[in-house]
Symmetry: C2
DNA sequence: CAGGTTCGTAAGTCAAGACTAACGGTAAGC
DNA sequence: GCTTACCGTTAGTCTTGACTTACGAACCTG
C-alpha cells in the first residue's frame, strides 16, 4: 500500500508540470522516440530527456532501446494508480456528503 | 471544451503540490474549517489559506461562510474533470497499443 | 575504423512559487 | 462598544526545479 501511495504521489507530481503533461499526452497517442518527441516540444531535447526520466520514475512511462533510439510508451499501470486514488477520494467525499445529508434529513424529521 | 481543458490543467497543477494534495485528501473525509485544517497541517494557517485559494480556483473545493468560520468541502466536479482526462488518456493509449499489436501480428507472422 | 546519429548526464543560471510574519477585516461574545 | 476568534491578503525571503549549453557514451553505417 505504501508503494502504491508513493507511486501515486510521484505520479501526481509528475503530471503537475505542463511540459511533462504535454509529453505524456502525446505519448498516449502512441509510442515515440526522444528525438521526435523533442521536435514537437517547446523545450530542448535534454529537457525532454529529463522530463521523461521523471515520468519513468513515476511509473507513468516505460523505455525501450531500439538501436540508438529510445522508444517511450505509456505505462497503463501508472494511470491506473492515479485513477484509483481519484476514485477513492471521490468515494469518501460522496460518503461524507451522504452522511451529512442524512443527518440534515434526520434533524428535519425531528423538527416536524 | 477549452474551459474543461483549462479546468483540468489547473486541477493537475493544483494536485501536484504535496501540501495541497494532503489538504484535499483530508477534505475528502468531510468538510472542515480553515483553522481545523491548519491545525493538522505542517505549515502555517496563511499557507493553508493560500493553498485553499488555489484549490478553489481549480474547481476542486468550494467555500461556505458559517459565521466567522469558512467551511471548505470537496467539489465533485473537479475530481470528475481530472478523471475524465485520465480516462481519455487511458483510452487512446489502449487503442494505440491495440493498433500496434494488430500490426505486429499482421507483419511478423514469421519473425519472433 | 572513421564519421554521423541518437540520447543521457553534469554544471550552472534563473524564475516560479511555497512559506512566514505582519496587518486588516468581519463575525460572535461579554 | 470592546474584546476576542477566525480568516484572507500583502510583502518579502528563500528553496525548489525547469531550462540550456557542453560533454560524453552507445549505436549504426560507410
Amino acid at each position: 500500500m505504501a508503494a502504491v501511495s508513493r507511486r501515486a504521489r510521484d505520479a501526481f507530481e509528475a503530471l503537475g508540470d505542463p511540459t511533462r503533461r504535454s509529453l505524456f499526452e502525446r505519448l498516449a497517442a502512441g509510442p515515440m522516440a526522444v528525438g521526435d518527441l523533442a521536435a514537437g516540444a517547446a523545450v530542448s531535447r535534454p529537457a525532454v530527456s529529463q522530463h521523461l526520466k521523471v515520468l519513468e520514475e513515476a511509473q507513468l512511462v516505460t523505455k525501450t532501446a531500439v538501436g540508438a533510439r529510445h522508444i517511450y510508451r505509456i505505462d497503463p499501470r501508472g494511470i491506473g494508480a492515479v485513477r484509483d486514488k481519484l476514485d477513492a477520494w471521490h468515494g469518501t467525499a460522496m460518503a461524507a456528503f451522504q452522511a451529512f445529508a442524512d443527518a440534515e434529513h434526520e434533524k428535519d424529521e425531528v423538527l416536524k
